[in-house]
């Protein structure tokens, strides 16, 4: 077990899987970098450096740089997946789904169903989500809810280095298209990660902390804020259970419902937009399946219904944080049937 960053953990997972299975290939813009230039060959390793070193070991046949052409990348990856490869396609920012949505949403996601089970599409789309980098409205979105809405896709939102590695390996070995959402701000967060390969199953939530007063469900970066909030609240004698679903499609509803059955109170935290988003999705499932146990209104903690602003002061106000979660927990404790 060594302490590595989430970036490094993801890099390990790709190294290991590409060694293990030669059908695994990596496709994307500057996943290596340097093509057509006169400088170094592995100049970028992805804009966030996650795929650094792969081209050195596996060569350009398996680490494939592309022109800036997301629709062709995703189409190519879906086609390759359907015909025997296991591509990892990089969509640099999830916001760029705008230019390749058809290939993911109308093609890859639906092949198996439309073709009556005759097609297998083992495709992983690695992409980045999240605000916090002052990258404004078109490079900061958390669009995982859009993909969750679509049947045929699986959606992963890791919150730490250990989970990231195990979930990426699982994603690569899975036979369905998986949207793997990496939060930009988490790349540098470190954790203990085994050097060996391991898998974390989809649809199994992680109970990060247990407490009997309130259940907090949080995703990706929001898990860290939830843990921080729970610590603050513990000092005041309020004990929270913090649940990280890890995958949101499939969603481990049982773990969430079981917890709410005990605590009777739910706060859902998500960095995606508030309308038709994940916070609403989870809240609505609980309102249907754990209604009898609920003692107070469910509270959602999300950004407001606005695009992501640029100015640091505005972006900081936009992103939900531990203070917002503490406030929501206290509000749900104050309310009651």
């Amino acid at each position: 077990m060594t302490t590595v960053s989430m970036r490094e953990a993801l890099n390990q997972a790709m190294h290991a899987e590409m060694r293990r299975d030669e059908r695994v290939i990596l496709i994307g813009e500057d996943v290596a970098g340097g093509l057509g230039g006169t400088g170094e060959d592995d100049a970028m390793g992805g804009v966030f450096g996650v795929s650094q070193g792969l081209v050195g070991e596996f060569g350009r046949e398996r680490v494939i740089d592309t022109p800036i052409t997301e629709s062709a990348i995703m189409g190519m990856a879906a086609g390759a997946a359907m015909t025997g490869m296991r591509p990892i396609a990089e969509l640099m920012f999830i916001d760029f789904m705008g230019v390749c949505f058809d290939l993911l949403f109308n093609q890859a996601a639906k092949f198996r169903y439309m073709f009556g089970g005759k097609a297998v599409t083992p495709l992983v789309v690695r992409t980045t989500i999240g605000a916090g980098f002052r990258a404004a409205a078109q490079h900061s979105q958390s669009l995982h809810a859009i993909f969750t809405h679509i049947p045929g896709l699986k959606v992963v939102v890791p919150s730490n280095a250990y989970d990231a590695k195990g979930l990426l390996i699982e994603a690569i070995r899975d036979d369905d298209p998986v949207i793997f959402c990496e939060h930009k701000v988490l790349y540098d967060t470190v954790g203990d990660v085994p050097e060996e390969s391991y898998r974390i199953p989809f649809g199994e939530a992680n109970i990060v902390r247990s407490g009997g007063d309130v259940t907090i469900v949080a995703l990706a970066r929001m898990v860290n804020f939830a843990v921080k909030a729970a610590a603050t609240l513990a000092e005041k004698g309020i004990e929270c259970t913090v649940i990280d679903p890890r995958t949101i499609s499939p969603l481990d509803l049982d773990t969430i419902v079981d917890s709410v059955e005990e605590t009777g109170r739910l706060v859902v935290v998500d960095e995606g937009y508030p309308r038709c988003g994940l916070a609403s999705d989870i809240a609505s499932e609980v309102a249907e399946h754990a209604f009898g146990a609920l003692k107070a209104p469910i509270k959602k903690v999300t950004p407001p219904h606005t695009p992501v602003p640029f100015s640091p002061v505005l972006e900081d106000a936009y992103i939900p944080n531990d203070d917002d979660i503490v406030e929501a927990v206290q509000a749900t404790l104050a309310a009651g049937r």
Partner: protein, 337 residues
């Protein structure tokens, strides 16, 4: 008042708004049809005949046929809207947003905000929506939740010819990008529609039926499904209140909450796939804001988490129907806490 079909009501509205304001133009594939052919210059009037006759009255400078090139003409509409025109774009099937998603969700929706309010983007995107005519997985989706997710867009789902005319008039006169979704199965529905122009404001729900036992919120054609169910339920002594939000963004949360305050029970009917959809959105809103009113779990009646099948019998099974709505209503009425 003259009886008009849904199709005629939309056609009338376009004619009247184009007469009223020279800045209103139409853009889309085959909205006239026949351009570049030897035959009739108004060959189609849109694949569903909705825009028939407009090119004869307004000419090719205001009724613009396009190549099959959604990304280009949607982007062009954004540019035209920012530069003084008020384009009405026919996207044909709402599923096609996937090939111009960037233009809709990253450009149209965000320009006003990103640019600090300097330019508005007064454009209307008309698209047909919904299953029921065996157009299978890529031409039958109901994507209002995806659009409602994005701040900056307004989303309209009219339920009848009268409603369609008033809401489309409002949409065209509105200064923001509006997604106007026409349910395929409603095009031939007839109703009294005034010849005069009129606006129905956004964000005001329509209460179609009053009843004290259960609130049913439904959108688009599901309103009629709910109405049919409520007639049968009334014979069993269960009185439903039916709310048609008309616009899913903005959403008239007040009317929904007021109704749930009366009835204490909520069923939401939505033709979309179940995850992160409009039903979860409304449910979560009520679970947060109207929890104290609730006497029973909120039930959601939606399509299953699958793509839309082709075979007519499977497609029927896929869509919510009055029997499913009745069952859900009876469950919440019979709930023993």
């Amino acid at each position: 008042m003259p009886l008009k079909t849904f199709r005629q009501a939309i056609n009338d509205t376009l004619v009247q708004e184009m007469q009223r304001d020279v800045r209103v133009i139409l853009i889309g594939e085959d909205i006239a049809g026949g351009t570049g052919c030897e035959g009739d210059g108004d060959a189609w009037g849109g694949p569903l005949g909705v825009t028939k006759g407009l090119i004869s009255e307004f000419g090719p400078d205001r009724v613009l046929d396009t190549p099959i090139s959604e990304a280009a003409f949607m982007g062009a509409a954004v540019g035209a809207a920012m530069n003084g025109l008020r384009p009405v774009v026919d996207l044909m099937f709402n599923d096609f947003v996937s090939v111009c998603f960037d233009q809709v969700c990253n450009q149209a929706a965000k320009c006003h905000y990103m640019y600090g309010g300097q330019n508005s983007v007064p454009m209307t995107i008309r698209a047909n929506t919904g299953a029921g005519i065996s157009t299978a997985a890529q031409h039958s989706q109901s994507l209002h939740p995806v659009f409602s997710f994005f701040p900056g867009l307004k989303v309209v789902v009219p339920t009848s010819p009268y409603e369609a005319k008033g809401l489309l008039t409002t949409a065209i006169r509105d200064d923001d990008p509006v997604i106007f979704l026409e349910t395929k199965l409603l095009y031939d529905m007839e109703e009294d529609v005034p010849d005069e122009s009129y606006e129905i404001p956004f964000g005001e729900a329509n209460i179609l039926r009053e009843g004290g036992d259960v609130t049913i919120v439904a959108v688009g054609r599901m309103v009629h499904v709910a109405t049919e169910a409520s007639a049968a339920l009334a014979r069993k002594g269960i009185e439903c209140e039916i709310i048609d939000p008309r616009t899913t963004s903005p959403l008239d949360t007040e009317t929904i909450l007021e109704s749930v305050e009366e009835t204490g029970r909520l069923v939401i009917v939505d033709e979309t796939t179940p995850r992160c959809n409009f039903a979860t959105d409304v449910s979560a809103m009520v679970a947060q804001e109207g929890f104290a009113f609730l006497k029973a779990p909120i039930r959601m009646v939606t399509a299953p988490h699958t793509p839309i099948p082709f075979a007519p019998n499977l497609e029927q099974l896929y869509m919510p129907d009055p029997a499913k709505v009745s069952a859900a209503v009876q469950q919440v009425v019979g709930y023993q806490g």
